[in-house]
Amino acid sequence: MTERHLHPDALLVRDLSVSFDGFKAVSGVDVSFAPGELHFLIGPNGAGKTTLVDALTGLVKGTGSASYGGKELLGLRSHKIVRAGVGRTFQTATVFDQLTVLQNLDIAAGLHRPAWRLAFARHGVPAAVDEALEKIGLSDLRHKPAGVLAHGQKQWLEIGMLLVQDARVMFLDETVAGMSADERAETGELLRRIGRERTIVVIEHDMDFVRNHADVVTVMHAGKVLAEGSVAEIQANEAVQEVYLGRTAKGNVHA
Protein backbone atom coordinates (compact mmCIF):
# COMPACT_ATOMS: atom_id res chain seq x y z
CA MET A 1 0.00 0.00 0.00
CA THR A 2 2.39 2.66 -1.14
CA GLU A 3 -0.53 4.98 -1.98
CA ARG A 4 -1.10 5.45 1.73
CA HIS A 5 -0.81 9.21 1.35
CA LEU A 6 -3.72 9.20 -1.12
CA HIS A 7 -6.15 7.90 1.50
CA PRO A 8 -8.60 10.70 2.31
CA ASP A 9 -8.27 10.15 6.06
CA ALA A 10 -4.52 9.79 6.16
CA LEU A 11 -2.31 11.74 8.51
CA LEU A 12 0.36 13.25 6.31
CA VAL A 13 3.69 14.22 7.82
CA ARG A 14 5.93 16.26 5.57
CA ASP A 15 9.46 17.44 6.23
CA LEU A 16 8.98 17.30 9.99
CA SER A 17 11.97 18.32 12.06
CA VAL A 18 12.43 18.73 15.78
CA SER A 19 15.55 20.17 17.31
CA PHE A 20 16.60 20.57 20.91
CA ASP A 21 19.21 23.30 21.33
CA GLY A 22 20.61 22.67 17.89
CA PHE A 23 20.50 18.88 18.12
CA LYS A 24 18.17 17.51 15.48
CA ALA A 25 16.20 14.73 17.15
CA VAL A 26 13.98 14.39 14.09
CA SER A 27 15.00 15.75 10.74
CA GLY A 28 13.01 16.01 7.56
CA VAL A 29 10.67 13.11 8.20
CA ASP A 30 8.07 12.29 5.52
CA VAL A 31 5.61 9.62 6.49
CA SER A 32 1.91 8.90 6.01
CA PHE A 33 -0.36 6.99 8.34
CA ALA A 34 -3.60 5.59 6.94
CA PRO A 35 -6.61 3.85 8.53
CA GLY A 36 -7.09 0.11 8.37
CA GLU A 37 -3.52 -1.03 8.84
CA LEU A 38 -1.31 -1.55 11.85
CA HIS A 39 1.59 0.77 11.29
CA PHE A 40 4.71 0.15 13.37
CA LEU A 41 7.49 2.61 14.07
CA ILE A 42 10.73 0.88 14.93
CA GLY A 43 14.33 1.88 15.27
CA PRO A 44 17.20 1.83 17.73
CA ASN A 45 17.03 3.85 20.93
CA GLY A 46 17.36 7.54 20.22
CA ALA A 47 16.12 7.16 16.65
CA GLY A 48 13.49 9.84 17.23
CA LYS A 49 10.33 7.70 17.28
CA THR A 50 8.87 9.09 20.48
CA THR A 51 10.01 12.60 19.59
CA LEU A 52 8.18 12.31 16.28
CA VAL A 53 4.99 11.33 18.12
CA ASP A 54 5.58 14.07 20.70
CA ALA A 55 5.74 16.61 17.88
CA LEU A 56 2.55 15.26 16.31
CA THR A 57 0.69 15.48 19.64
CA GLY A 58 1.83 18.94 20.66
CA LEU A 59 4.29 17.97 23.39
CA VAL A 60 7.34 19.37 21.58
CA LYS A 61 7.63 21.98 18.87
CA GLY A 62 8.23 20.77 15.35
CA THR A 63 8.74 22.45 12.00
CA GLY A 64 7.36 21.24 8.70
CA SER A 65 3.82 20.05 8.35
CA ALA A 66 1.48 17.39 9.70
CA SER A 67 -2.01 17.55 8.32
CA TYR A 68 -4.95 15.47 9.35
CA GLY A 69 -8.57 15.93 8.27
CA GLY A 70 -7.72 19.27 6.68
CA LYS A 71 -6.12 20.55 9.88
CA GLU A 72 -2.50 21.44 10.46
CA LEU A 73 -1.52 19.74 13.71
CA LEU A 74 1.84 21.42 14.26
CA GLY A 75 1.34 24.50 16.39
CA LEU A 76 -1.93 23.26 17.89
CA ARG A 77 -1.92 22.68 21.63
CA SER A 78 -2.18 19.10 22.87
CA HIS A 79 -5.81 19.21 23.92
CA LYS A 80 -6.83 20.71 20.56
CA ILE A 81 -5.01 17.94 18.73
CA VAL A 82 -6.93 15.42 20.83
CA ARG A 83 -10.16 17.15 19.89
CA ALA A 84 -9.10 16.90 16.24
CA GLY A 85 -9.18 13.11 16.71
CA VAL A 86 -5.53 12.27 17.35
CA GLY A 87 -4.79 10.51 20.64
CA ARG A 88 -1.83 8.79 22.21
CA THR A 89 -0.58 6.66 25.07
CA PHE A 90 2.72 6.92 26.91
CA GLN A 91 5.62 4.56 27.52
CA THR A 92 4.72 4.35 31.17
CA ALA A 93 0.98 3.88 31.43
CA THR A 94 -0.53 6.98 32.96
CA VAL A 95 -4.03 6.27 34.09
CA PHE A 96 -5.67 8.10 36.96
CA ASP A 97 -4.85 5.82 39.88
CA GLN A 98 -7.38 7.30 42.31
CA LEU A 99 -10.29 6.97 39.90
CA THR A 100 -12.00 3.70 39.09
CA VAL A 101 -11.66 2.02 35.71
CA LEU A 102 -15.15 3.22 34.90
CA GLN A 103 -14.37 6.82 35.91
CA ASN A 104 -11.17 6.76 33.88
CA LEU A 105 -13.11 5.77 30.79
CA ASP A 106 -15.97 8.14 31.55
CA ILE A 107 -13.83 11.26 31.80
CA ALA A 108 -12.11 10.24 28.58
CA ALA A 109 -15.53 10.37 26.92
CA GLY A 110 -15.98 13.91 28.21
CA LEU A 111 -14.74 15.72 25.14
CA HIS A 112 -17.91 14.72 23.31
CA ARG A 113 -20.13 16.25 25.97
CA PRO A 114 -20.99 19.92 26.36
CA ALA A 115 -18.97 21.60 29.12
CA TRP A 116 -21.96 22.41 31.35
CA ARG A 117 -22.67 18.71 31.83
CA LEU A 118 -19.48 18.54 33.87
CA ALA A 119 -21.42 20.08 36.76
CA PHE A 120 -23.51 16.92 37.13
CA ALA A 121 -22.79 13.44 38.32
CA ARG A 122 -22.75 10.49 35.95
CA HIS A 123 -25.99 8.56 35.73
CA GLY A 124 -25.56 5.04 34.47
CA VAL A 125 -22.81 3.99 32.13
CA PRO A 126 -22.49 5.65 28.71
CA ALA A 127 -22.79 3.15 25.86
CA ALA A 128 -19.35 4.00 24.50
CA VAL A 129 -17.82 3.26 27.90
CA ASP A 130 -19.59 -0.09 28.17
CA GLU A 131 -18.44 -1.00 24.70
CA ALA A 132 -14.85 -0.04 25.47
CA LEU A 133 -14.92 -2.02 28.76
CA GLU A 134 -16.00 -5.03 26.76
CA LYS A 135 -13.34 -4.54 24.08
CA ILE A 136 -10.44 -4.15 26.50
CA GLY A 137 -11.72 -6.97 28.69
CA LEU A 138 -11.92 -5.01 31.94
CA SER A 139 -15.69 -5.22 32.48
CA ASP A 140 -15.29 -7.16 35.71
CA LEU A 141 -12.84 -4.64 37.11
CA ARG A 142 -14.88 -1.55 36.33
CA HIS A 143 -15.29 -0.47 39.95
CA LYS A 144 -11.66 -1.08 40.92
CA PRO A 145 -9.38 1.93 41.26
CA ALA A 146 -7.10 2.04 38.25
CA GLY A 147 -4.09 2.15 40.57
CA VAL A 148 -4.51 -1.53 41.49
CA LEU A 149 -4.51 -2.78 37.89
CA ALA A 150 -1.62 -4.85 36.58
CA HIS A 151 0.76 -3.19 34.16
CA GLY A 152 -0.81 -4.78 31.08
CA GLN A 153 -4.31 -3.90 32.22
CA LYS A 154 -3.31 -0.26 32.61
CA GLN A 155 -2.10 -0.22 29.02
CA TRP A 156 -5.42 -1.72 27.91
CA LEU A 157 -7.26 0.86 29.95
CA GLU A 158 -5.33 3.57 28.13
CA ILE A 159 -6.33 2.06 24.81
CA GLY A 160 -9.91 1.92 26.11
CA MET A 161 -9.71 5.61 26.96
CA LEU A 162 -8.63 6.34 23.40
CA LEU A 163 -11.59 4.28 22.19
CA VAL A 164 -14.18 6.25 24.17
CA GLN A 165 -12.44 9.44 23.12
CA ASP A 166 -13.09 8.08 19.65
CA ALA A 167 -9.55 8.92 18.58
CA ARG A 168 -9.38 8.25 14.84
CA VAL A 169 -5.60 8.20 15.01
CA MET A 170 -3.90 6.42 17.92
CA PHE A 171 -0.23 6.60 18.70
CA LEU A 172 0.73 3.82 21.10
CA ASP A 173 4.15 4.12 22.67
CA GLU A 174 5.68 0.74 23.54
CA THR A 175 2.37 -0.65 24.62
CA VAL A 176 3.47 -4.27 25.04
CA ALA A 177 6.74 -3.53 26.83
CA GLY A 178 6.76 -5.46 30.06
CA MET A 179 3.74 -7.58 29.13
CA SER A 180 3.66 -11.37 29.37
CA ALA A 181 3.48 -13.45 26.19
CA ASP A 182 -0.26 -14.01 26.68
CA GLU A 183 -0.88 -10.33 27.25
CA ARG A 184 1.07 -9.49 24.09
CA ALA A 185 -1.01 -11.88 22.05
CA GLU A 186 -4.21 -10.41 23.47
CA THR A 187 -3.00 -6.89 22.83
CA GLY A 188 -2.22 -7.81 19.23
CA GLU A 189 -5.73 -9.19 18.80
CA LEU A 190 -7.19 -6.07 20.38
CA LEU A 191 -5.26 -3.79 18.04
CA ARG A 192 -6.40 -5.83 15.03
CA ARG A 193 -10.03 -5.53 16.12
CA ILE A 194 -10.00 -1.80 16.74
CA GLY A 195 -7.63 -1.02 13.88
CA ARG A 196 -10.03 -1.85 11.10
CA GLU A 197 -11.42 1.63 10.80
CA ARG A 198 -8.79 3.57 12.71
CA THR A 199 -5.23 4.62 12.13
CA ILE A 200 -3.05 2.86 14.65
CA VAL A 201 0.63 3.64 14.95
CA VAL A 202 2.66 1.59 17.40
CA ILE A 203 6.17 2.40 18.56
CA GLU A 204 7.74 -0.93 19.37
CA HIS A 205 11.01 -2.62 20.25
CA ASP A 206 9.68 -6.15 20.47
CA MET A 207 10.46 -7.63 17.06
CA ASP A 208 8.29 -10.70 17.55
CA PHE A 209 5.33 -8.48 18.18
CA VAL A 210 6.17 -6.42 15.09
CA ARG A 211 6.52 -9.52 12.93
CA ASN A 212 3.23 -10.96 14.14
CA HIS A 213 1.09 -7.90 13.76
CA ALA A 214 2.60 -5.23 11.52
CA ASP A 215 1.03 -4.38 8.17
CA VAL A 216 3.49 -1.58 7.58
CA VAL A 217 6.78 -0.86 9.29
CA THR A 218 8.62 2.44 9.22
CA VAL A 219 12.19 2.20 10.42
CA MET A 220 13.75 5.32 11.89
CA HIS A 221 17.40 5.92 12.50
CA ALA A 222 19.16 9.05 13.74
CA GLY A 223 16.06 11.17 13.33
CA LYS A 224 15.36 10.13 9.75
CA VAL A 225 13.18 7.56 8.04
CA LEU A 226 15.52 4.78 6.99
CA ALA A 227 13.05 2.47 5.29
CA GLU A 228 9.38 1.68 5.01
CA GLY A 229 7.52 -1.39 3.87
CA SER A 230 6.07 -4.73 4.90
CA VAL A 231 7.82 -6.86 7.50
CA ALA A 232 9.41 -8.98 4.78
CA GLU A 233 10.65 -5.95 2.88
CA ILE A 234 12.12 -4.43 6.00
CA GLN A 235 13.84 -7.65 6.96
CA ALA A 236 15.42 -7.84 3.53
CA ASN A 237 16.52 -4.22 3.56
CA GLU A 238 20.29 -3.94 3.80
CA ALA A 239 20.37 -0.51 5.37
CA VAL A 240 18.07 -1.73 8.13
CA GLN A 241 20.17 -4.81 8.68
CA GLU A 242 23.24 -2.69 9.02
CA VAL A 243 21.67 -0.34 11.57
CA TYR A 244 20.38 -3.18 13.69
CA LEU A 245 23.12 -5.73 13.24
CA GLY A 246 25.83 -3.19 13.60
CA ARG A 247 24.57 -2.36 17.05
CA THR A 248 22.78 -5.28 18.57
CA ALA A 249 23.08 -9.03 18.60
CA LYS A 250 22.23 -10.94 15.47
CA GLY A 251 18.75 -12.41 15.54
CA ASN A 252 17.06 -9.27 16.62
CA VAL A 253 15.70 -8.81 13.11
CA HIS A 254 16.19 -12.32 11.76
CA ALA A 255 14.11 -14.71 13.71
Binding site: F96, D106, I107, A121
Partner: protein, 358 residues
Protein backbone atom coordinates in the same frame (compact mmCIF):
# COMPACT_ATOMS: atom_id res chain seq x y z
CA UNK B 1 -26.26 -0.65 49.18
CA UNK B 2 -26.23 0.61 45.62
CA UNK B 3 -23.57 3.08 44.62
CA UNK B 4 -26.25 5.59 43.77
CA UNK B 5 -27.57 5.64 47.32
CA UNK B 6 -24.04 5.71 48.63
CA UNK B 7 -23.28 8.94 46.81
CA UNK B 8 -26.11 10.58 48.75
CA UNK B 9 -24.79 9.49 52.15
CA UNK B 10 -22.71 12.63 52.59
CA UNK B 11 -25.94 14.62 52.32
CA UNK B 12 -27.00 12.98 55.57
CA UNK B 13 -23.76 14.17 57.10
CA UNK B 14 -24.41 17.68 55.85
CA UNK B 15 -27.93 17.51 57.26
CA UNK B 16 -26.53 16.40 60.63
CA UNK B 17 -24.10 19.29 60.63
CA UNK B 18 -26.92 21.67 59.66
CA UNK B 19 -29.03 20.48 62.59
CA UNK B 20 -26.09 20.74 64.97
CA UNK B 21 -25.36 24.29 63.86
CA UNK B 22 -28.85 25.65 63.30
CA UNK B 23 -30.88 23.87 65.99
CA UNK B 24 -28.65 22.45 68.70
CA UNK B 25 -26.01 25.17 68.93
CA UNK B 26 -28.44 28.12 69.38
CA UNK B 27 -30.32 26.12 72.02
CA UNK B 28 -27.34 25.24 74.19
CA UNK B 29 -24.76 27.97 73.64
CA UNK B 30 -24.55 31.36 75.31
CA UNK B 31 -24.62 34.45 73.12
CA UNK B 32 -20.88 34.85 73.43
CA UNK B 33 -20.14 31.22 72.52
CA UNK B 34 -22.59 31.34 69.64
CA UNK B 35 -20.86 34.42 68.29
CA UNK B 36 -17.54 32.58 68.55
CA UNK B 37 -19.03 29.63 66.69
CA UNK B 38 -20.21 32.04 63.99
CA UNK B 39 -16.61 33.20 63.61
CA UNK B 40 -15.39 29.62 63.24
CA UNK B 41 -18.08 29.08 60.60
CA UNK B 42 -16.55 31.94 58.59
CA UNK B 43 -13.15 30.24 58.73
CA UNK B 44 -14.83 26.96 57.86
CA UNK B 45 -16.23 28.49 54.66
CA UNK B 46 -12.71 29.48 53.65
CA UNK B 47 -11.66 25.94 54.57
CA UNK B 48 -14.27 24.28 52.33
CA UNK B 49 -12.87 26.31 49.43
CA UNK B 50 -9.31 25.33 50.32
CA UNK B 51 -10.42 21.70 50.46
CA UNK B 52 -11.70 22.05 46.91
CA UNK B 53 -8.65 23.85 45.53
CA UNK B 54 -5.96 22.06 47.52
CA UNK B 55 -7.45 18.72 48.57
CA UNK B 56 -9.11 17.94 45.26
CA UNK B 57 -7.28 20.25 42.90
CA UNK B 58 -3.76 19.99 44.30
CA UNK B 59 -3.33 23.78 44.38
CA UNK B 60 -1.86 24.80 47.74
CA UNK B 61 -3.64 28.14 48.08
CA UNK B 62 -1.61 29.92 50.75
CA UNK B 63 -3.14 33.32 50.09
CA UNK B 64 -6.85 32.86 50.66
CA UNK B 65 -6.59 35.93 52.87
CA UNK B 66 -6.72 37.96 49.66
CA UNK B 67 -10.23 36.76 48.86
CA UNK B 68 -11.24 36.78 52.51
CA UNK B 69 -10.27 40.46 52.49
CA UNK B 70 -12.26 41.22 49.33
CA UNK B 71 -15.47 40.05 50.96
CA UNK B 72 -14.60 41.44 54.37
CA UNK B 73 -13.68 44.92 53.17
CA UNK B 74 -16.71 45.10 50.87
CA UNK B 75 -18.91 44.27 53.84
CA UNK B 76 -16.87 46.49 56.16
CA UNK B 77 -17.18 49.50 53.86
CA UNK B 78 -20.92 49.02 53.53
CA UNK B 79 -21.48 48.63 57.27
CA UNK B 80 -19.23 51.59 58.00
CA UNK B 81 -21.27 53.78 55.67
CA UNK B 82 -24.53 52.38 56.99
CA UNK B 83 -23.40 53.18 60.53
CA UNK B 84 -22.61 56.82 59.75
CA UNK B 85 -25.87 57.30 57.89
CA UNK B 86 -26.75 59.02 54.63
CA UNK B 87 -24.09 61.34 53.30
CA UNK B 88 -21.81 60.71 56.28
CA UNK B 89 -18.20 59.64 56.03
CA UNK B 90 -16.46 57.10 58.27
CA UNK B 91 -15.00 58.53 61.47
CA UNK B 92 -11.47 57.31 60.77
CA UNK B 93 -11.45 59.41 57.61
CA UNK B 94 -12.50 62.52 59.49
CA UNK B 95 -9.48 62.01 61.76
CA UNK B 96 -7.11 62.40 58.83
CA UNK B 97 -8.88 65.12 56.91
CA UNK B 98 -12.24 66.37 58.16
CA UNK B 99 -13.03 68.02 54.86
CA UNK B 100 -12.07 65.17 52.54
CA UNK B 101 -14.89 63.84 50.40
CA UNK B 102 -15.66 60.12 50.50
CA UNK B 103 -13.27 58.33 48.10
CA UNK B 104 -15.04 57.46 44.85
CA UNK B 105 -14.59 53.69 45.27
CA UNK B 106 -16.40 53.84 48.62
CA UNK B 107 -19.49 55.55 47.25
CA UNK B 108 -21.23 52.54 45.61
CA UNK B 109 -20.86 50.55 48.84
CA UNK B 110 -23.63 52.65 50.36
CA UNK B 111 -25.91 50.30 48.45
CA UNK B 112 -26.52 46.96 50.18
CA UNK B 113 -27.35 45.24 46.90
CA UNK B 114 -24.13 46.47 45.29
CA UNK B 115 -22.17 45.25 48.30
CA UNK B 116 -23.68 41.78 48.19
CA UNK B 117 -23.02 41.61 44.43
CA UNK B 118 -19.40 42.67 44.95
CA UNK B 119 -18.84 40.04 47.64
CA UNK B 120 -19.37 37.49 44.89
CA UNK B 121 -18.25 39.37 41.77
CA UNK B 122 -14.98 40.78 43.10
CA UNK B 123 -13.43 37.40 43.98
CA UNK B 124 -14.67 35.93 40.70
CA UNK B 125 -13.00 38.70 38.69
CA UNK B 126 -9.78 38.79 40.72
CA UNK B 127 -9.42 34.99 40.92
CA UNK B 128 -10.18 34.63 37.20
CA UNK B 129 -7.52 37.12 36.17
CA UNK B 130 -4.96 35.73 38.63
CA UNK B 131 -5.82 32.13 37.87
CA UNK B 132 -5.74 32.65 34.13
CA UNK B 133 -2.29 34.21 34.29
CA UNK B 134 -0.98 31.59 36.71
CA UNK B 135 -2.44 28.39 35.26
CA UNK B 136 -1.95 29.18 31.57
CA UNK B 137 1.73 29.73 32.36
CA UNK B 138 1.69 26.36 34.10
CA UNK B 139 2.90 27.73 37.42
CA UNK B 140 2.36 25.01 40.00
CA UNK B 141 3.58 23.32 43.15
CA UNK B 142 5.72 25.34 45.54
CA UNK B 143 5.90 28.25 43.10
CA UNK B 144 2.14 28.53 43.10
CA UNK B 145 2.00 28.36 46.90
CA UNK B 146 4.64 31.06 47.31
CA UNK B 147 2.99 33.26 44.72
CA UNK B 148 -0.40 33.16 46.45
CA UNK B 149 1.24 33.74 49.82
CA UNK B 150 3.10 36.74 48.40
CA UNK B 151 -0.18 38.17 47.15
CA UNK B 152 -1.63 38.00 50.66
CA UNK B 153 1.45 39.78 52.01
CA UNK B 154 1.23 42.40 49.27
CA UNK B 155 -2.46 43.10 49.87
CA UNK B 156 -1.98 43.29 53.64
CA UNK B 157 0.86 45.75 53.11
CA UNK B 158 -1.23 47.78 50.70
CA UNK B 159 -4.10 48.01 53.17
CA UNK B 160 -1.73 48.94 55.99
CA UNK B 161 -0.23 51.65 53.85
CA UNK B 162 -3.46 53.27 52.72
CA UNK B 163 -4.76 54.41 56.08
CA UNK B 164 -6.84 57.22 54.59
CA UNK B 165 -8.86 54.83 52.47
CA UNK B 166 -8.91 51.57 54.39
CA UNK B 167 -8.21 52.40 58.01
CA UNK B 168 -4.76 50.83 57.73
CA UNK B 169 -3.64 48.50 60.51
CA UNK B 170 -6.44 49.69 62.79
CA UNK B 171 -8.92 48.45 60.25
CA UNK B 172 -12.60 49.13 59.92
CA UNK B 173 -14.65 48.99 63.10
CA UNK B 174 -17.35 50.75 65.10
CA UNK B 175 -20.19 49.17 63.17
CA UNK B 176 -23.64 49.64 64.62
CA UNK B 177 -25.94 48.04 62.13
CA UNK B 178 -26.09 45.23 59.59
CA UNK B 179 -28.50 45.75 56.68
CA UNK B 180 -30.88 47.69 58.91
CA UNK B 181 -30.56 45.39 61.93
CA UNK B 182 -28.88 46.93 64.94
CA UNK B 183 -25.89 44.92 66.13
CA UNK B 184 -26.65 45.65 69.79
CA UNK B 185 -29.63 43.34 69.82
CA UNK B 186 -28.69 39.74 70.80
CA UNK B 187 -31.57 38.46 68.69
CA UNK B 188 -30.07 40.12 65.62
CA UNK B 189 -26.71 38.60 66.43
CA UNK B 190 -28.39 35.19 66.52
CA UNK B 191 -29.84 35.99 63.12
CA UNK B 192 -26.35 36.72 61.83
CA UNK B 193 -25.19 33.39 63.22
CA UNK B 194 -28.06 31.64 61.44
CA UNK B 195 -27.19 33.31 58.14
CA UNK B 196 -23.52 32.37 58.54
CA UNK B 197 -24.24 28.75 59.44
CA UNK B 198 -26.67 28.49 56.52
CA UNK B 199 -24.06 29.86 54.14
CA UNK B 200 -21.56 27.32 55.46
CA UNK B 201 -24.02 24.49 54.87
CA UNK B 202 -24.58 25.94 51.39
CA UNK B 203 -20.84 25.89 50.69
CA UNK B 204 -20.74 22.24 51.78
CA UNK B 205 -23.62 21.34 49.46
CA UNK B 206 -21.82 23.05 46.57
CA UNK B 207 -18.63 21.16 47.42
CA UNK B 208 -20.55 17.89 47.69
CA UNK B 209 -22.12 18.39 44.27
CA UNK B 210 -18.77 19.39 42.73
CA UNK B 211 -17.05 16.35 44.24
CA UNK B 212 -19.61 13.87 42.94
CA UNK B 213 -19.92 15.54 39.53
CA UNK B 214 -17.83 14.71 36.51
CA UNK B 215 -16.01 17.95 37.15
CA UNK B 216 -14.91 16.56 40.52
CA UNK B 217 -13.50 13.46 38.84
CA UNK B 218 -11.73 15.61 36.29
CA UNK B 219 -10.31 17.82 39.04
CA UNK B 220 -8.87 14.81 40.86
CA UNK B 221 -7.50 13.57 37.54
CA UNK B 222 -5.88 16.96 36.99
CA UNK B 223 -4.41 16.90 40.49
CA UNK B 224 -2.88 13.46 40.01
CA UNK B 225 -1.72 13.66 36.38
CA UNK B 226 -2.13 17.12 34.94
CA UNK B 227 -0.27 16.45 31.70
CA UNK B 228 -2.33 13.35 31.05
CA UNK B 229 -5.54 15.39 31.22
CA UNK B 230 -4.43 17.31 28.15
CA UNK B 231 -4.64 14.05 26.26
CA UNK B 232 -8.27 13.70 27.26
CA UNK B 233 -8.90 16.86 25.26
CA UNK B 234 -9.10 19.27 28.20
CA UNK B 235 -6.95 22.23 29.05
CA UNK B 236 -6.10 21.56 32.71
CA UNK B 237 -5.70 25.32 33.24
CA UNK B 238 -9.45 25.79 32.80
CA UNK B 239 -10.32 23.00 35.23
CA UNK B 240 -8.03 24.42 37.91
CA UNK B 241 -9.33 27.90 37.24
CA UNK B 242 -12.92 26.87 38.03
CA UNK B 243 -11.89 25.30 41.36
CA UNK B 244 -9.72 28.30 42.22
CA UNK B 245 -12.56 30.74 41.51
CA UNK B 246 -15.11 28.74 43.53
CA UNK B 247 -12.65 28.59 46.44
CA UNK B 248 -12.14 32.36 46.17
CA UNK B 249 -15.88 33.04 46.32
CA UNK B 250 -16.23 30.85 49.43
CA UNK B 251 -13.36 32.71 51.10
CA UNK B 252 -14.96 36.03 50.19
CA UNK B 253 -18.34 35.07 51.65
CA UNK B 254 -16.60 33.86 54.80
CA UNK B 255 -14.78 37.18 55.00
CA UNK B 256 -17.98 39.16 54.49
CA UNK B 257 -19.78 37.42 57.37
CA UNK B 258 -16.68 37.71 59.57
CA UNK B 259 -17.16 41.50 59.75
CA UNK B 260 -20.58 41.78 61.48
CA UNK B 261 -19.64 38.87 63.77
CA UNK B 262 -16.25 40.09 64.94
CA UNK B 263 -16.98 43.80 64.55
CA UNK B 264 -13.59 44.69 63.13
CA UNK B 265 -11.71 43.96 59.94
CA UNK B 266 -7.99 44.68 59.86
CA UNK B 267 -5.07 43.34 57.78
CA UNK B 268 -4.05 40.96 60.53
CA UNK B 269 -7.19 38.92 59.84
CA UNK B 270 -6.10 38.29 56.25
CA UNK B 271 -2.29 38.53 56.13
CA UNK B 272 0.21 35.74 55.57
CA UNK B 273 -0.17 34.34 59.09
CA UNK B 274 -3.97 34.35 58.81
CA UNK B 275 -3.76 32.65 55.41
CA UNK B 276 -1.60 29.89 56.87
CA UNK B 277 -4.02 29.57 59.77
CA UNK B 278 -6.78 28.89 57.19
CA UNK B 279 -4.64 26.09 55.77
CA UNK B 280 -3.86 24.57 59.17
CA UNK B 281 -7.47 23.61 59.90
CA UNK B 282 -7.83 22.06 56.46
CA UNK B 283 -4.66 20.01 56.84
CA UNK B 284 -5.66 18.83 60.32
CA UNK B 285 -9.16 17.88 59.28
CA UNK B 286 -8.17 16.19 56.03
CA UNK B 287 -7.98 18.23 52.89
CA UNK B 288 -9.39 15.79 50.37
CA UNK B 289 -12.37 14.67 52.44
CA UNK B 290 -15.69 16.51 52.20
CA UNK B 291 -16.01 17.09 55.94
CA UNK B 292 -12.30 17.28 56.76
CA UNK B 293 -11.80 21.00 56.12
CA UNK B 294 -15.01 22.10 57.93
CA UNK B 295 -14.41 20.02 61.02
CA UNK B 296 -10.74 20.93 61.05
CA UNK B 297 -11.47 24.65 60.81
CA UNK B 298 -14.17 24.51 63.49
CA UNK B 299 -11.84 22.54 65.78
CA UNK B 300 -8.89 24.85 65.26
CA UNK B 301 -11.09 27.89 65.83
CA UNK B 302 -12.50 26.38 69.01
CA UNK B 303 -9.07 25.32 70.19
CA UNK B 304 -7.71 28.78 69.64
CA UNK B 305 -10.47 30.45 71.68
CA UNK B 306 -10.54 28.03 74.61
CA UNK B 307 -6.84 27.40 74.96
CA UNK B 308 -5.90 31.04 74.62
CA UNK B 309 -8.52 31.87 77.27
CA UNK B 310 -6.81 29.55 79.75
CA UNK B 311 -3.15 29.72 78.76
CA UNK B 312 -2.63 32.72 76.56
CA UNK B 313 0.28 32.28 74.21
CA UNK B 314 0.42 28.50 74.32
CA UNK B 315 -2.14 27.93 71.60
CA UNK B 316 0.22 28.65 68.75
CA UNK B 317 2.61 25.96 70.06
CA UNK B 318 -0.20 23.46 70.43
CA UNK B 319 -1.32 24.19 66.88
CA UNK B 320 2.22 23.83 65.58
CA UNK B 321 2.65 20.53 67.38
CA UNK B 322 -0.69 19.23 66.12
CA UNK B 323 0.27 20.24 62.62
CA UNK B 324 3.55 18.33 62.81
CA UNK B 325 1.98 15.23 64.34
CA UNK B 326 -0.86 15.09 61.81
CA UNK B 327 1.39 15.73 58.83
CA UNK B 328 3.72 12.90 59.87
CA UNK B 329 1.31 10.36 61.33
CA UNK B 330 -1.91 11.11 59.47
CA UNK B 331 -1.23 12.76 56.11
CA UNK B 332 -4.90 12.38 55.19
CA UNK B 333 -5.95 14.36 58.26
CA UNK B 334 -8.34 13.39 61.00
CA UNK B 335 -10.98 12.49 58.40
CA UNK B 336 -8.76 9.63 57.23
CA UNK B 337 -9.07 7.99 60.66
CA UNK B 338 -12.45 6.60 59.60
CA UNK B 339 -11.18 4.94 56.43
CA UNK B 340 -8.02 3.82 58.22
CA UNK B 341 -10.09 2.24 60.94
CA UNK B 342 -12.24 0.47 58.37
CA UNK B 343 -9.12 -0.76 56.57
CA UNK B 344 -7.61 -2.04 59.80
CA UNK B 345 -10.84 -3.83 60.67
CA UNK B 346 -10.97 -5.47 57.24
CA UNK B 347 -7.36 -6.59 57.59
CA UNK B 348 -8.02 -8.02 61.05
CA UNK B 349 -11.03 -9.90 59.73
CA UNK B 350 -9.17 -11.34 56.76
CA UNK B 351 -6.28 -12.45 58.99
CA UNK B 352 -8.86 -14.07 61.30
CA UNK B 353 -10.25 -15.93 58.32
CA UNK B 354 -6.78 -16.99 57.26
CA UNK B 355 -6.10 -18.22 60.77
CA UNK B 356 -9.38 -20.11 60.79
CA UNK B 357 -8.76 -21.76 57.44
CA UNK B 358 -5.17 -22.67 58.31
Amino acid sequence: MTTKLKSFLPLLGIAALAIALLVVAPAVLSDLRLNNLAKYCCWAMVAVGIGLAWGRGGMLVMGQGVFFALGAYAMGMHMQLESVGDGGIPTFMILYDPLAPLPAFWEPFRSGAFTIAMIVVAPVVVASILGFAIFKRRVKGAYFAILTQALAVALATLISGTIKYTGGDTGLSGFTSFFGYTLDDPLNRRLIFTITATLLVGCLVVAWQLYRSRFGELLVATRDAEERVRFLGYDPANIKLVAFVVAAVMASIGGAMFVPIVGIMAPKSMDAAASIFFIAGVALGGRAALFGPVLGALAVGYGQSTLSEQWPGTWIYVLGLLFIVVTIALPGGIASLATRGAGLLARLRSSDRKAASA
